[in-house]
Subunit: 329 residues, 2 copies
């Protein structure tokens, strides 16, 4: 069960180890020797030691992936997409979790660099100076998903545009008294872009909006729904910044005896699979997480080869207009 080394191969084939190495890396090797080496390698099932290789080359066939949470739908789907493509190209995905702590993101950037990953895909929530500094320092291609910054290659969701589009749809359907449930602003994409997209649509139509803030956790949104159920309000629609929030709000409303969409409409954002099988099915924006993961893998691989790659790329989106939002007209 001992490791077969290049020395063993060399000895068995009766050549120098440098020749074996050259054979493995496509250098010039004569026909006769090539065949000898080939045979020995096949027989011994030789596989090069990756540490020895990396020690010399200062590189690995790994792409680091920094995720804020392991158990978010978006992160899972994105990881699937990344992994799929990476595997095709003989790369491996090294996932590191930051448990939503910004400092850990920075820590992990350095850490991944120490581990000599070939590139890093970063599912970001916010971009700070410390991030940029780290990225500049580590000298490794970094691709940012979900947020944008001029100094980092990024693959971004059209949060603003899709929120605007969905908002316009709601306006068209006659909703004019809206409750918006968002998240804190330090998440630029979700906390700001989505909100601003919606607000623009609402403002353009002259709608009344009441804004509230919660977290990404379902549980925190339930009381908001309950509150809304008891409030005396003329609002016809609750617009939520994520599907999870919508889920909590729906629950809260149900707890308070309100029916959706008969008493009030609710929309989500993100397009989790199961939003379709809810009853009522949830109106939301579908973001192509998985495909985005695949594209991210493609892009980081491109960056590795030094190919020209646009700094910023937008993904598509798709409005899922379903039962949870009523047409008033």
């Amino acid at each position: 069960m001992k490791q077969v080394t290049i020395n063993d191969i060399a000895k068995l084939a009766g050549v120098a180890k440098s020749t074996v190495s050259r054979y493995l890396n496509g250098g010039s090797v004569g026909k006769a020797t090539r065949e000898k080496i080939e045979r020995v390698i096949r027989e011994t099932k030789y596989e090069p030691n990756q540490f020895a290789q990396s020690l010399k080359s200062k590189q690995t066939k790994m792409i680091g992936v920094i995720v804020p949470r392991l158990d978010s739908y978006a992160a899972s789907r994105t990881m699937m997409g990344i992994d799929e493509r990476l595997t095709e190209y003989g790369y491996q995905m090294l996932v590191v979790n930051t448990a939503q702590q910004t400092e850990r993101e920075i820590e992990q950037l350095y850490n991944l660099a120490k581990q000599k990953v070939a590139g890093i895909i970063w599912l970001g929530t916010t971009v700070t100076q410390a991030h940029l500094q780290a990225i500049a320092a580590i000298q490794i291609p970094v691709l940012l998903i979900g947020q944008q910054h001029d100094d980092v290659h990024s693959l971004v969701y059209p949060d603003y545009e899709s929120a605007y589009a969905l908002g316009q749809q709601f306006m068209e359907w006659g909703h004019r008294d809206i409750i918006y449930v968002g998240v804190a602003e330090d998440d630029i994409a979700v906390g700001q872009a989505r909100r601003d997209g919606f607000l623009r649509a609402f403002n353009e139509a002259g709608a009344v909006v009441r804004s509230m803030t919660t977290t990404f956790r379902i549980d925190d949104a339930i009381p908001i729904g309950e509150q809304l159920a008891t409030d005396v309000t003329d609002a016809t629609l609750v617009v939520c910044a994520t599907d999870n929030i919508a889920l909590g709000v729906l629950k809260g409303l149900a707890n308070g005896g309100k029916r959706v969409p008969d008493d009030i409409s609710v929309s989500g954002f993100g397009g989790y699979d199961f939003t379709e099988v809810l009853h009522p099915s949830l109106t939301t924006v579908h973001l192509p997480y998985r495909r985005t993961g695949s594209r991210a893998a493609d892009m980081i691989l491109q960056l590795l080869t030094g190919e020209a790659t646009p700094m910023k790329t937008f993904t598509t989106f798709e409005l899922k207009l379903r039962e949870s939002v009523d047409m008033l007209n």
Copy 2:
């Protein structure tokens, strides 16, 4: 930006590199030299090269985690738990995805061994001879989660017992005409143990059971629900082998105009978070995925140190009796 090496440290501190190495690994070093080395290391921010270390030691501080799918709730939660604990102990998690293909599990066992992970946590679906052979061959501790086999250390969910308990509860509530929606038998835990647990409870009470089989995908369960909605049947309860199946069945029933639990009851299995916020909230069995992940991390670390560890450990479970199943009496 160049790597600082142990040679640099040795030179700067005016000692031999072996001394530096000894200092780093807790060997005997005099006070004066220790302080010199300490200072130099601090000033240069020296960090040992992991490849060089691994090359010599034939080990890494990584634990491989083999998962069938990256986007399953159970897998995500389990990974969280694993990662949490591993991080505490200075280990890293290397996740590999098998996309539900058994051959890839085996491939990955060998692959992880090649990468010299210290241990492997395997979220299994089925245990074949090829698996056992691989595990024996690679000479690395393997911990199996979710399935069991006498020859492999395993951490297993009480699928049978919890299904039996939940089934008994349903019997107590007076359900006697049951539809069971399960998955294929090649998943021992889900396809067999859960089913058998339920069936035992149903049989003991003399209930009538009709069994159906589907996949783990929500979409595949929808037609089943729809079918059930139109069928002329006296069944009062649909028992599903997973929450996802329950979700699909619920949708199908809703599509067919059936109300849950008024017209018919539905139960799930797994205890996904959002089953609680569904309306109606779903009766299910909660399995402690996250904690199990943490325990798995503990156990694999124990195995590494050669500590005695039981071959088989059961986790707890918790019945979540909620709105989706009616009490008939």
